[in-house]
């Protein structure tokens, strides 16, 4: 029960690493990976800060939110992958036309 | 919903409903369309007559509807609005007859007459507006409904003319909107009141803002009243069919602008308040400049309709001139000229339309000797032209007379010089046409068109110019009759200047 919410800081770091990769890399599969990493980062922040209860069970509400988030993440990732494949099939490359998408 | 609130709405509906129905009529059902048009025009005329009688007997007609929690849409029939409403309903009837004849077998007539009726609805709305926001509403509606009429022909030239028309009017509308909103933030009411609703309120103590607002309002209205820098769209809009340019220049668009300036100067600011604000003098200057500049430009126009267009630009500024000069006589001159200029100009445009439609004459240069071929049309044209110049018994003379004496009363001697100069210029660009038409030997290519039937052209094209020419004569001769426009103008001025 360390006082410093270490994993929350890691979560913030993951969020920023994911955002950097999302902005910088062109390939759609990398962008989907980046989105998943950012998602994990946000969930880490959400869960770690729920663990600050003194000598009591951690707050279950964020845990429920994270499970919802994970399921939503897998659903959107699955759809994004199929969309990427369709883009690759139609345009020949699994990248968005303008190289560096914001 | 008693009679006093129903009548204004009925007057609006009398052209709105036929218009909406006509939109959905197929092109082939000519008889129904003509019947609807004429029915609408006649009912409007009757309703206006009923309202006029009511107003004389002191009945107060007002229809009110809440537009915003603190703002109402008001239609009210006071003396000034009645003048403009009666003018537009009379001329709308004549122009409808003329348009039916003119567009005998041209395409898209349902669309044309639909927008035609909506345009008159907007004009009547502008006339009967009881406060600035209602006025703004119908003023912008007028822009929207006249644009399709200008681009009716569908040629590239028409589209460009329409585009330039929009540039001016939409920009003007935006300025007007800002002015009106600014006013609504300063004053809690925008209702038109005879002496203006500004004098004595605490906001009146901020002249700077009020002058800026006045400039905004006049700029917005000046676009349609064709004051000098803002008149560019008018000559270009001549590409529209004749009934449209007749209606636009004599009744709807141009007059709405001038009427708006009358409302702003008299019923928003109040003439005394505006005078000591010092805004009326620059307005007089602008009006005078417009009169002279437009008359000079008219001299060099070979196309008949463009010459008439420039003449309209200068004539409308007579109204602004009369209003901006502080003094009852000048005001009477200005207000009565609204009616006179309407009648004269519409007669001239009807004749121009006839010439273009039957003999395909568009240029002044090939009008030599046309009077032998079309004596009635050229007769009406001559009456209108002499009226414009200010020849005594006709309407033009009365307005110029009152403007002149008003100018002297307001110690603005140089205005008389401007009036005289403009009359000379009028003569300079009208008399050669009349002379050429009557006395020169015909040499244009139109001679081969033999006149096959008894009348020189279809009766529907001939009746309106004759009627308007007669009206110009009647208004001139019977100026002192109780119901004449002059008497009406005198009644309005009495209410404006108060006891």
């Amino acid at each position: 029960m360390s006082s410093v919410p270490l994993f929350a800081l890691v979560g913030a770091g993951l969020f920023c690493i994911g955002l950097y990769a999302l902005i910088v890399y062109a390939h759609l599969l990398r962008k989907i990976l980046a989105i998943n990493v950012m998602g994990s980062g946000v969930f880490l922040v959400l869960a770690t800060l729920a663990d600050r209860t003194v000598n009591a069970a951690p707050d279950p509400v964020p845990h429920a939110m994270i499970i919802t988030g994970i399921v939503v993440a897998v659903a959107t990732t699955a759809f994004a992958l199929v969309l990427m494949l369709k883009v690759a099939e139609k345009t020949g490359r699994a990248e968005l036309p303008d190289e560096r998408t914001g | 919903m008693n009679a006093s609130t129903a009548l204004p709405l009925l007057i609006l509906a009398s052209s709105l409903l036929p218009g909406l129905v006509i939109f959905f009529l197929p092109e082939s059902s000519i008889r129904i369309r003509t019947a609807l048009n004429l029915f609408g025009a006649v009912t409007k005329l009757v309703l206006v007559a009923v309202m006029a009688r009511g107003v004389l007997h002191g009945v107060d007609y007002e229809a009110r509807m809440r537009l915003l929690p603190d703002l109402d849409l008001v239609l009210r029939a006071d003396a000034l609005s009645l003048l403009f409403v009666s003018l537009s309903s009379v001329l709308w009837l004549l122009t409808t007859v003329y348009a039916i004849g003119y567009l005998e077998n041209s395409p898209h007539r349902s669309r044309f007459f639909g927008f035609f009726s909506l345009c008159v609805t907007a004009t009547v709305g502008v006339a009967m507006a009881g406060n600035l926001i209602t006025f703004l509403l119908f003023y912008e509606l007028l822009t929207l409904t006249t644009y399709p009429l200008i681009v009716h022909r569908g040629t590239e030239v028409a589209r460009l003319a329409g585009r330039s028309y929009l540039r001016y009017t939409i920009a003007g509308g935006a300025l007007l909107l800002v002015g009106v909103v600014w006013l609504s933030t300063l004053f809690d009411t925008l209702e038109f009141a005879p002496g203006g609703f500004m004098a004595g309120t605490e906001a009146a103590s901020r002249p700077g803002t009020l002058i800026v607002i006045f400039a905004l309002l006049i700029a917005g209205l000046g676009v349609k009243a064709a004051l000098v820098p803002l008149h560019g769209w008018l000559p270009k809009a001549m590409v529209a069919p004749a009934p449209v340019s007749a209606l636009l220049h004599a009744v709807a668009v141009v007059k709405a602008g001038a009427f708006g300036i009358v409302r702003v100067v008299y019923d928003v600011y109040g003439i005394e308040f505006a005078a000591n604000l010092g805004v009326t003098q620059p307005l007089v200057m602008v009006a005078a400049a417009t009169i002279l500049y437009a008359s000079v430009r008219a001299l060099f126009q070979d196309d008949l309709k463009r010459r008439l267009a420039y003449s309209t630009v200068s004539q409308v500024s007579y109204i602004t001139l009369g209003i901006a000069m502080v003094g009852p006589i000048a005001t009477i001159g200005g207000i009565v000229h609204i009616v006179h200029q309407g009648l004269m100009k519409i007669a001239l445009f009807f004749c121009a339309g006839n010439l273009a439609e039957t003999l395909d004459i568009h240029k002044v240069s090939d009008m030599d000797g046309v009077a032998h071929r079309m004596p009635w049309t050229m007769g009406a044209f001559t009456v209108g032209a002499f009226g414009m110049i200010g020849v005594p018994p006709l309407a033009g003379f009365i307005s110029k007379w009152y403007l002149g004496t008003g100018a002297l009363a307001a110690e603005q001697g140089w205005i008389v010089l401007v009036l005289v100069a403009s009359s000379v210029l009028n003569a300079a660009y009208f008399l050669p046409i009349v002379h050429a038409a009557w006395f020169k030997t015909p040499k244009g290519k139109w001679q081969d068109k033999r006149d096959r039937q008894r009348l020189e052209t279809r009766w529907m094209l001939l009746l309106p110019p004759m009627a308007t020419a007669l009206l110009v004569l009647a208004v001139g001769l019977l100026a002192n009759m109780p119901l004449s426009p002059l008497e009406w103008a005198r009644l309005i001025t009495m209410t404006e200047y108060g006891p």
């Binding site: 989105i35 968005l96 914001g102 | 329409g162 935006a174």
Partner: protein, 482 residues
């Protein structure tokens, strides 16, 4: 029947009915069209009775599962949500009728479930007063919108859908991070509870700016607008009508909710920055719309401009400005969907929507052109349309609060709007040299577009009633200037 009508919680019906409809359409594809129309009518009935109840009994909160606010989720039905719900219902009904004729057989069986999911998620979003629930609703809306955009199947529709999906996911995650910080900072995710607990600490402002960036991404505010034009232009017409008319407004609605309920103090540098972004959106959107060669692209850029208008309400911060912004949302929803449906008719009939060669089509589709023009009146903000009322309220707010430069932006924007609307309408009156063959457009599609356009204009005449129902249960913030 009265007892049932009184006790039934109509707001819950608004969420459950479209969802049931969507699942039914998915289970029985060949009966999808009838089911969808039935659902649309059912939603309309629910909205009507909800309106009656709210106007009579005032705003009320509906605790889902009968648990209290901090623990459970609460639905809030007040003037703001009611007005948004009814706009969604009206536009939704028109789009449903339009899509019945628009889609071919195989595509239509895939369209209906997705469309009803989008409708349900919008209703859920407008009703919810719980910021995490709003995250899930935003996710559902985003995914439904992306799948509908990708329905067109062409190369640029797919790439636009992919870009839209990535931006939507990024927006949602940023928003979720903001929600996480707010939850852990103040102990609850319910707006009413938060309104009591929130104070202007750096944690709150950081969390709020994260949520703001997420929502701005989804609303396509100026720097984040790049994904909107390709997405709205290449999507099928009814879809782009739903996107531009409703989906964009959903995330702005959340911003408004947060700004009214949670944000403690007015932070002028922040609001002025928003105003500058809004003004940039107005100018940029207007210029791009003028340069657009294709009709749907022009309309999409016009959406960016209108979004710019919405953000001008922040710096004005006067109650009238918020009424104006909300009125703009409503009139824009109706007018913009009418425009897209009209553009859809033109595309359906002629196969292309290049603006230059529009005149050959205009002869055969007078009603669609009329719909476009009438909707244009509201977009331009000319009287008597709803757009005019919105512009009037916002300009009045700008002048009253002495910030005249926002008034200038608004007027400049309406000049841009006039320019690009008349650029299209101008071609409608030109003569067609060679009327080539074209498929004639089903009447229902033309009438749907015209009905929406006329509704947008008539909205201008019933302003007092709408303005009154807007502020049930929550007066807009900002000084109520006399």
């Amino acid at each position: 029947m009265e007892a049932l009508a009184a006790t039934v919680s109509w707001d819950a019906c608004l969420i459950v009915l479209p969802l049931l409809g969507a699942i039914a359409c998915f289970a029985w594809p060949n009966a999808a069209k009838k089911l969808a129309l039935g659902t649309a009518l059912a939603v309309l009935v629910s909205i009507a009775s909800l309106t009656i109840r709210v106007t009579a009994a005032g705003a009320f909160r509906h605790a889902v599962g009968a648990w209290g606010a901090p623990l459970g989720i609460e639905l809030l039905v007040d003037g703001l949500s009611l007005v948004m719900l009814s706009a969604t219902a009206i536009v939704g009904l028109a789009i449903t009728i339009y899509s019945a004729g628009y889609f071919k057989a195989d595509v239509s069986s895939r369209f209906w479930p997705l469309w009803l999911f989008l409708w349900a998620s919008l209703n859920a979003l407008f009703l919810s007063s719980d910021i995490f629930n709003l995250y899930v609703a935003l996710e559902l809306t985003g995914l439904a919108a992306v799948t509908l955009t990708a329905l067109a199947g062409s190369a640029d529709a797919l790439t636009a859908a992919a870009r839209y999906l990535l931006v939507s996911l990024l927006g949602s995650l940023t928003y979720l991070l903001g929600v996480a910080l707010v939850y852990h900072g103040f102990g609850s995710v319910d707006m009413a509870v938060l309104a009591g607990r929130v104070e202007s600490t750096p944690v709150f402002w950081a969390a709020f700016s994260l949520m703001f960036v997420g929502l701005a991404l989804k609303t396509a505010l100026f720097p984040f607008h790049f994904w909107l034009p390709p997405a709205h232009a290449s999507a099928p017409a009814p879809v782009s009508a739903a996107l531009s008319g409703l989906v964009i407004k959903a995330s702005f609605y959340i911003l408004m909710r947060l700004w009214f309920e949670i944000v403690p103090a007015d932070y002028s540098t922040f609001t002025n920055f928003l105003g500058v972004l809004g003004a940039a959106a107005v100018v940029w959107g207007g210029l791009q719309a003028l340069r657009a060669k294709r009709l749907k692209l022009l309309i999409a850029y016009s959406t960016i401009m209108q979004v710019g208008y919405l953000f001008l309400a922040f710096p004005l911060a006067v109650a009238a400005a918020w009424r104006g912004a909300l009125y703009l949302i409503l009139s824009h929803a109706l007018a913009k969907s009418a425009m897209f449906l009209a553009a859809g008719n033109i595309l359906y009939c002629a196969g292309h929507d290049r603006i230059e060669s529009l005149d050959r089509i205009a002869q055969r589709l007078p009603m669609s052109l009329a719909a476009f023009a009438v909707a244009g009146v509201s977009i331009m903000g000319l009287p008597p349309s709803g757009g005019f009322i919105a512009k009037w309220l916002m300009v009045e707010a700008a002048l009253k609060s002495g910030q005249w430069w926002w008034a200038v932006t608004l007027v400049l924007g309406s000049l841009f709007a006039a320019a690009y609307v008349f650029k299209v309408v101008g071609y409608a009156f030109t003569q067609a040299e060679a009327p080539h063959t074209s498929i004639d457009v089903p009447a229902a599609m033309e009438w749907a577009a015209l009905a929406l356009a006329v509704a947008a204009v008539l909205m201008g005449l019933i302003a007092p009633w709408i303005l009154a129902s807007m502020e049930i249960g929550r007066a807009f913030p900002g000084a109520a200037i006399p």
